[in-house]
């Protein structure tokens, strides 16, 4: 297939359908019949380079958003099982966000088209490629000539060669260039960047700033290249004392806002007034009126802005004055960023898309093509896309999955997934990220669009001449820097990117778009919408991992919601979970109310991403999923509402989508339990999420209010640093341990296995952690964790088929969860002055674990290398361990999530292809929890052993640490000083959660660092609240 990464010949075990095996194994063991042994199927012809049972690694790229990070796909026996960031890639440097991780569930999505589909007489039927291509070329023949000029091709935005290739193809049929759409993209900001910095997206230089001001730029929630932003932002904040202070201006406190040290709650689109005030245009009072921010606050801001230099100022362009704001802020920006992120070049603006829609409506469009984009969902309802689209005589979709737009087309030519096909991207200037197939297509009936285009062109003598190459691959490789000559290409593919450029066309600076007139305002409240941090503009909704990933801010999942401030809620008598109707001139939606401190009392915020169309349900979880799941697939069905139903067809002068309007809300009387993983949002000063002020760093920290009196700091160190034989299990537990010889067998320090020489441990730096939750999804991907929120996964006993119902019963299985605690604003009155703290909470692998002695069957016990082990096949399910776990990080298999014959089955074919062969799929009725990725530890030990050496320092790490885009998590051997984890353990900010329980946890947290305003400008009580 291609070169594989030479450095990475790693050893694991081969077990394709372990998921089936594991469950039948347990069942049969119980039924007392011999193991079902099954068949051994050899290769027909053994492929070179791959050793059965050993992973092969392919460097390729991620297209879950436009940023196109470099990823490494781990494949086992021909199946991709895990994605991780490419450590050498300049953009993401080895990190990968939750959406990137979930690309695998796009690849193995059970709703993918198996073959081309043709709509005849309103009914869809599967077709062969011959039929499909014949139909396509025939219809193309009809639109030749003048009509062709009118054709519209909407392509999901890509950087790299394909756009040029596509335009070339279109041109050969006399069609105009395609529209490269990304409904998430902030085109107003891009336009402003292009004017101000001469690049569509600078790589913001957080490190050099003394102050960061973000005017509604959610650079951690998916605004631009969030992984890159997060890496740089976290590095900047990790400088602690010299780190930049961060102020967030905007109507709603997003994840980015919660990471800010100060929130200035301006009205929607009121940021411009503030920016202008800072620029010295206009005085505080007028700014205060338009922005709804007290003049005093603005004065303080101005002081600070003046005193702190340099200032990094960012602006999001979703307001109706987005372009003006972004431009104004660009001139505020004191930190220039040399490097540019070119991935965003050439994104069509919403205004252009809307123009195309209008042309369709007027019936001028002879043919329309859609690839990877879903305008029928992602354009505001008032654009009436469907009806305009219906006027187009011939509509082709190249989508992989059924979606709202594809449903409206006449022909579906299912595309290959990124991980199955060739391509390239130019995410940063001067480097071409290479996209190579990590595996053969999951479904033989799918084909790369580029190859389809070539095939069609070849059918027509007029165009055939322009396509000498049999397939896109050869065409592409020739274009690559170095002309794709084998020598260089091999190493480049292994590396994942090449230096140089393939950009054929220079992006013309788009002509300024006319801001469409403000629509009639109805309702007394502002309404803002924003792309969901997990589902984006909705494209993530068909991936169970993303549905199951709690929104980093609200912790809601499998649902949509309306954020309402406590004051407003009180005024309207609304409580959390009340179904409210959000209404304005353009439509109305019914969603559960969520009471949120971080939104202005005069504003309601509704996220995008849910509310995909839900056609009648077929029997779609019976395993026989051949029938096409229209709508957006089974996982997006019947969940929440689409916020875009409430928005006018309106573009600001940047041609961008305007994410704010007005609305009224009213109670409907219905009530639901909000699907959320949040218990109490307050930590009741239990010192779980601790923080210190930057001024206190180095000073002796006064800890009284953090923890019960009488605990010396770093009491845990002996337990953590010494081999496990000496920790609370042994000598620390009782000084006479050795004399009494309670250290038996492998627990003896001198035992041949040498296991006690290790003490696996982890540190989490809360000063870096932004709460983005990439680690959570990485954990799901690595450890075969079932998602339990799908409607059909409830106990039938409830007669409940409500999405996320299991999660309202607390049955989520997130081995690693991200807790978000609020500090301040207890009284529910509106204040900008509250703080959020994020704590990744996972099994603490206590040296003195409460869960261990209570298990009657030794299913959980302490391993000599410091792991707190859970043996699934020994567990009988008394659940006593969980009752006795202070951290509540043990999860129980309430249903047969791994049993294919159950409604609760979490891995319908082919999702089970992704299952990690090195991790047992747990059966019904057993407890499970974080294992510190023991399979990776064992793999490293195997590798070391077969190379006659011991495991080297930082040789490997856990899935969460590998994914973390803010590099907050460090894993390693605390008993061996050469591992980098030790340097964090020594940090003065280090603390243990519930240290007073003497659990000797192996997970050490480093306190979050707050940057309070300068004493002059200090908000009252900000200091006290730590």
């Amino acid at each position: 297939m291609s070169e594989h990464k030479p450095a990475a010949t790693q050893v694991k075990r081969r077990e394709f359908l372990k998921v089936l095996g594991a469950t039948t194994a347990a069942a049969s063991a119980a039924a007392c019949v011999p193991e079902e042994t099954g068949k051994l199927i050899p290769y027909l012809v053994s492929p070179d380079q791959t050793v059965p049972g050993v992973s092969t690694y392919y460097a390729t790229l991620c297209r879950e958003c436009s940023a196109s990070c470099g990823v490494i796909a781990e494949t086992r026996d021909g199946r991709a099982i895990k994605l991780e960031g490419n450590p050498e890639h300049p953009l993401n440097k080895g990190a990968l966000c939750a959406r990137g991780q979930s690309a695998l569930q796009g690849l193995y999505n059970p709703d993918r088209f198996r073959s081309p589909m043709i709509k005849s007489a309103g009914a869809w039927k599967a077709a062969t490629w011959d039929e499909a291509l014949t139909l396509l070329s025939q219809r193309l023949g009809e639109v030749r000539g003048g009509a062709a000029q009118s054709a519209v091709f909407l392509n999901q935005h890509e950087s790299g060669s394909f756009p040029a290739f596509l335009d070339g193809w279109l041109a050969s049929y006399g069609m105009r260039p395609h529209l490269s759409v990304d409904f998430e993209a902030d085109t107003a900001a891009i336009e402003a960047h292009r004017r101000a910095y001469g690049m569509s997206w600078p790589r913001w230089n957080f490190a050099d700033a003394k102050l960061i001001i973000s005017f509604g730029a959610d650079f951690l929630d998916g605004w631009g290249a969030s992984v890159a932003h997060q890496l740089d932002f976290a590095d900047a904040r990790a400088k602690l004392a010299s780190a930049p202070r961060f102020i967030y201006v905007g109507p709603r406190r997003s994840l980015t806002g919660l990471n800010a040290d100060q929130w200035i709650a301006s009205k929607p689109s009121g940021e411009l007034a503030i920016a202008n005030f800072l620029l010295g245009r206009g005085d505080a009072n007028t700014a205060s009126q338009t922005s709804g921010v007290p003049a005093a606050t603005l004065q303080r801001l101005a002081q600070e802005f003046a005193s702190a230099k340099p200032v990094l100022a960012l602006a999001g362009g979703r307001g109706d004055n987005g372009l003006e704001l972004a431009t104004a802020v660009a001139s505020l920006n004191g930190v220039r960023s040399a490097e540019g992120i070119t991935a965003f070049d050439g994104i069509a603006r919403q205004s252009d898309v809307l123009a195309a829609v209008e042309r369709m409506r007027s019936g001028q469009v002879a043919a329309a093509f859609v690839r990877g984009a879903n305008p029928a969902y992602a354009l505001p309802k008032s654009a009436r896309f469907a009806e305009a689209f219906a006027k187009v005589p011939f509509k082709v979709s190249f989508s992989m999955y059924p979606d709202e737009t594809t449903e409206l087309c006449d022909l579906v030519l299912p595309d290959l997934h990124t991980l199955e096909s060739w391509g390239d991207a130019e995410s940063t200037r001067g480097t071409v990220t290479l996209q190579q197939p990590a595996m053969d297509p999951v479904f033989a009936g799918t084909r790369a669009t580029a190859d389809v285009l070539i095939a069609v062109a070849k059918k027509d003598p007029a165009t055939a001449a322009r396509y000498p190459d049999a397939e896109y691959r050869t065409w592409l490789l020739r274009r690559l820097p170095g002309g794709g000559n084998p020598q260089t290409l091999g190493s480049e593919l292994a590396k994942g990117f090449a230096s140089g450029s393939t950009l054929a066309r220079t992006i013309p600076a788009a002509a300024p778009a006319a801001a469409s007139p403000a629509a009639a305002a109805t309702g007394d409240l502002f309404l803002v919408t924003y792309p969901s941090a997990t589902l984006g503009d909705g494209r993530g909704a068909n991936k169970p991992w993303l549905q199951e990933l709690p929104d980093p801010v609200t912790k809601v999942l499998w649902s949509s919601w309306a954020e309402i401030h406590p004051e407003t809620a009180q005024r309207l008598g609304i409580e959390r979970g009340d179904i409210v109707e959000v209404r304005n001139a353009f439509g109305a939606i019914r969603v559960p109310a969520l009471i949120y401190l971080g939104v202005r009392p005069d504003t309601v915020a509704v996220p995008m991403g849910q509310g995909h169309s839900s056609p009648t349900q077929t029997s779609w979880y019976d395993g026989k999923d051949r029938a096409v799941q229209w709508g957006y697939g089974r996982y997006a069905r019947a969940i929440g509402a689409n916020a875009l139903d409430l928005f006018p067809v309106r573009s600001n002068s940047g041609g961008g989508f305007v994410g704010s309007t007005t609305c009224a809300i009213s109670k409907t009387g219905d009530h639901v339990t909000v699907v959320s993983t949040e218990g109490s949002a307050r930590q009741h000063d239990r010192g779980i999420a601790q923080a210190i002020s930057v001024n206190e760093i180095g000073a002796p920290v006064e800890r009284e209010h953090e923890k019960p009196p009488g605990d010396a700091p770093h009491q845990f160190l002996p337990g953590l640093r010494s081999p496990v034989a000496a920790d609370a299990q042994g000598e620390l537990g009782s000084p006479t341990a050795r004399d009494r010889g309670i250290l038996q067998g492998m627990y003896k320090p001198d035992h041949a296995s040498g296991m006690t020489r290790r003490r696996w441990a982890m540190t989490v730096d809360l000063a870096r952690c932004t709460g983005c939750s990439a680690c959570v999804t990485a954990c799901y991907a690595e450890n075969n964790i079932p998602t339990v929120g799908a409607p059909w996964q409830n106990g039938v006993v409830y007669a409940q088929h409500q999405p996320g119902f299991n999660i309202t019963r607390g049955r989520e299985m997130n081995w690693l969860r991200l807790e978000r605690y609020y500090e301040g604003a207890e009284d529910g009155r509106f204040t900008e002055d509250f703080e959020a703290r994020f704590v990744p909470m996972l099994c603490q692998h206590c040296g003195n674990a409460p869960c261990e002695p209570v298990c009657p069957v030794y299913a959980t016990y302490h391993a000599p290398d410091g792991l707190n082990v859970q043996v699934y096949n020994r567990c009988v399910g008394t659940r006593y361990c969980s009752n006795n776990c202070p951290y509540k990080v043990r999860y129980f298999n309430w249903f047969g999530y791994g049993e294919p014959d159950r409604a609760q089955y979490a891995f319908p074919e082919p999702l089970n292809w992704q299952l990690n062969p090195d991790v047992t799929v747990r059966t019904k009725g057993v407890m499970e929890k974080c294992t510190f990725c023991v399979q990776r530890i064992r793999e490293a030990e195997h590798r070391a052993a077969s190379e006659q050496r011991t495991v080297a320092a930082d040789e490997f790490t856990t899935a969460c640490a590998a994914a973390c885009p803010s590099r907050a998590i460090t894993f390693g051997d605390a008993a061996d000083a050469t591992w980098s984890v030790n340097k964090f353990v020594e940090d003065e900010r280090a603390y243990h959660v519930f240290e007073e329980l003497n659990t000797y946890t192996a997970v050490v947290y480093l306190k979050k660092v707050n940057h309070p305003a300068a004493p002059a400008a200090q908000a009252p009580g900000a200091e006290a609240r730590r």
């Binding site: 347990a26 119980a30 949040e678 218990g679 109490s680 307050r682 930590q683 009741h684 000063d685 239990r686 779980i688 019960p708 409830n794 106990g795 039938v796 006993v797 409830y798 299991n806 019963r809 607390g810 049955r811 969860r817 807790e819 605690y821 909470m841 409460p850 002695p853 209570v854 298990c855 009657p856 069957v857 030794y858 016990y861 020994r874 567990c875 009988v876 399910g877 008394t878 659940r879 006593y880 969980s882 009752n883 006795n884 776990c885 202070p886 951290y887 509540k888 129980f892 298999n893 309430w894 249903f895 047969g896 159950r902 609760q904 059966t923 019904k924 009725g925 057993v926 519930f994 329980l997």
Partner: protein
């Protein structure tokens, strides 16, 4: 409606204190004892009806459990981190029920408390069946019940043994021991009675069974000597179990560091609670039996009175334990403990906590009044409240603790589903099925021991008069102090002696 002219001295009319010198004035002679007690064994329609109901409940429970095994524990109302629920609650509930039986039959025997004589057989049987019921739940609540035997230490090919540090393993031993001892105790006590029945039995099959069970008892002097020794020994042997077994059960909680569980007061607190709940169940059972089997002249108000005093006493201990818990939390200065108890009593779980306090602390206070102590109807109603209250005591211990632990992010709530309720119902079906079967196969009162307290035979009545008075004696025996029983048997009171 007590008849004015009673042949008995005043000393026998006043309510007696528990003592060996119990008199059953309305019982003429040994023959009457045999006759009347054995008469209770005649199956009646009502009995069949009750048995059918019990079995129906049991079947409901069984089907619910089958469904749960098939689809997984998720069908029960568990709401993590509330990982224990109705099943463990009901387990502790039934184990507790058992204790009163052993207390009455063993400890009171050692203390020579005479009022036990008439009720102890019921109580003892209750104990055995309660333990049989309780024993099901630890298995029933497992995630993989078919692996339950891994908790039992036995030589196996895996070379693994159970974790002997785990209170759950102690439970296994405690329950098995308790079941063995109490069932043996019950059986030994039964032997002379079985012999009696053997002698009166005509049906050859039953006779054969009784003969086998009676181990050839011939009422010989030597047999009686051995019997009393064995009985005394077993009584002495099971006495410590009353304390130990429920202490072990309480360790399930006390050994954990969960706020609300991690308390040294638990063992005594649980033992007292167990006896209290057991007394409740004794009343629930004995009062209807007394009424419907027309045995008021065996289980006299004096006996009920004495038992009620003991109930009151244990209730006071339990109440003290509740208050002590709060005081400990208050004085401990441990914020987890304090916040938890506040949430228990005034927060989320107030409703359950107050049900517990009212049923177990407040209502039993009524037993300070002798009138109520001697009012079977009230005692029976109260006993139902006590059963309810004690079930909720366990609920309050198990659920609120788990739902409000160290980690605020994981605070949650709990609501049982129909599966939980069905299995709870099934457990009652199971218990009463056994009890009903028992009380029609074997004497529910210790014939031999009753005979010890039957008053010496008087000269008259003459045979024919005796015949007559006997009929009345059965129908409406003239019972000392039996004056307020509604539609009471004393009502038609022919004072014919």
């Amino acid at each position: 409606m007590a008849t004015a002219a009673s042949p008995y001295p005043a000393s026998e009319q006043r309510p007696n204190v528990p003592s060996a010198s119990v008199r059953l004035p309305a019982v003429a002679d040994y023959e009457q004892v045999d006759r009347e007690i054995i008469a209770t064994l005649r199956p009646t329609l009502g009995w069949f009806a009750l048995l059918a109901t019990a079995i129906l409940c049991l079947l409901i429970g069984i089907s619910a459990w089958t469904y749960q095994i098939y689809s997984g524990l998720g069908v029960a109302g568990y709401n993590p981190p509330v990982m224990w629920g109705v099943y463990i609650i009901t387990f502790v509930f039934w184990i507790g029920i058992g204790h009163a039986g052993t207390l009455i039959s063993a400890i009171l025997y050692l203390f020579r408390a005479g009022f036990r004589t008439s009720i102890y057989r019921c109580a003892e049987a209750m104990t055995v069946f309660a333990v049989m019921t309780a024993g099901l739940f630890p298995i029933l609540h497992l995630g993989r019940p078919w692996k339950f035997f891994w908790l039992i230490p036995y030589p196996n090919w895996r070379l693994i043994w159970p974790q002997f540090k785990s209170p759950l393993v102690w439970d296994v031993f405690a329950i098995l021991t308790y079941f063995t001892v109490s069932s043996t105790f019950l059986y030994i006590g039964l032997i002379p009675d079985i012999a009696t029945m053997r002698d009166r039995e005509t049906n050859p099959v039953r006779k054969a069974i009784y003969s086998a069970l009676s181990l050839g008892w011939r009422n010989s002097d030597r047999e009686w000597r051995h019997f009393t020794r064995a009985y005394l020994f077993l009584a002495a042997f099971s006495t410590p179990l009353v304390l130990s077994v429920h202490s072990v059960v309480s360790f399930d909680f006390a050994m954990a560091l969960t706020p609300g569980w991690h308390a040294t007061i638990f063992p005594p607190y649980f033992v007292a609670g167990a006896i209290f709940s057991g007394m409740g169940m004794v009343f629930t059972i004995i009062i209807p039996i007394r009424k419907f089997f027309k045995l008021q002249h065996y289980v006299t108000l004096n006996d009920l009175d004495a038992a009620a005093k003991m109930t009151l006493f244990t209730s006071l201990i339990v109440g003290l334990a509740y208050l002590t818990e709060f005081q400990i939390a208050w004085l401990s200065g441990n914020k987890y403990e304090q916040q938890y108890f506040w949430n228990r009593v005034f927060g989320q779980w107030a409703w359950a906590a107050w049900i517990m306090i009212i049923c177990n602390m407040v209502l039993p206070m009524s037993l300070f009044s002798q009138k109520l102590r001697r009012n079977p109807s009230w005692l029976w109603i109260l006993s139902l409240f006590i059963n309810l209250g004690m079930w909720f005591e366990r609920f309050v211990i198990v659920v609120p603790s788990l739902s409000h632990e160290f980690e605020p992010w994981q605070w949650t709530t709990y609501a049982p589903t129909w599966v939980d309720y069905s299995i709870l119902l099934g457990s009652f079906g199971w218990f009463f099925m056994w009890f009903l079967l028992f009380c029609k196969q074997l004497p529910i009162m210790a014939i031999s021991e009753l005979k010890e307290v039957v008053p010496p035979k008087r000269k008259h009545p003459h045979p024919e008069e005796f015949e007559h008075s006997r009929d009345e004696g059965i129908a409406h025996p003239q019972v000392t102090g039996e004056h307020e029983l509604p539609g009471g048997l004393g009502a038609a009171g022919g004072g014919t002696h």
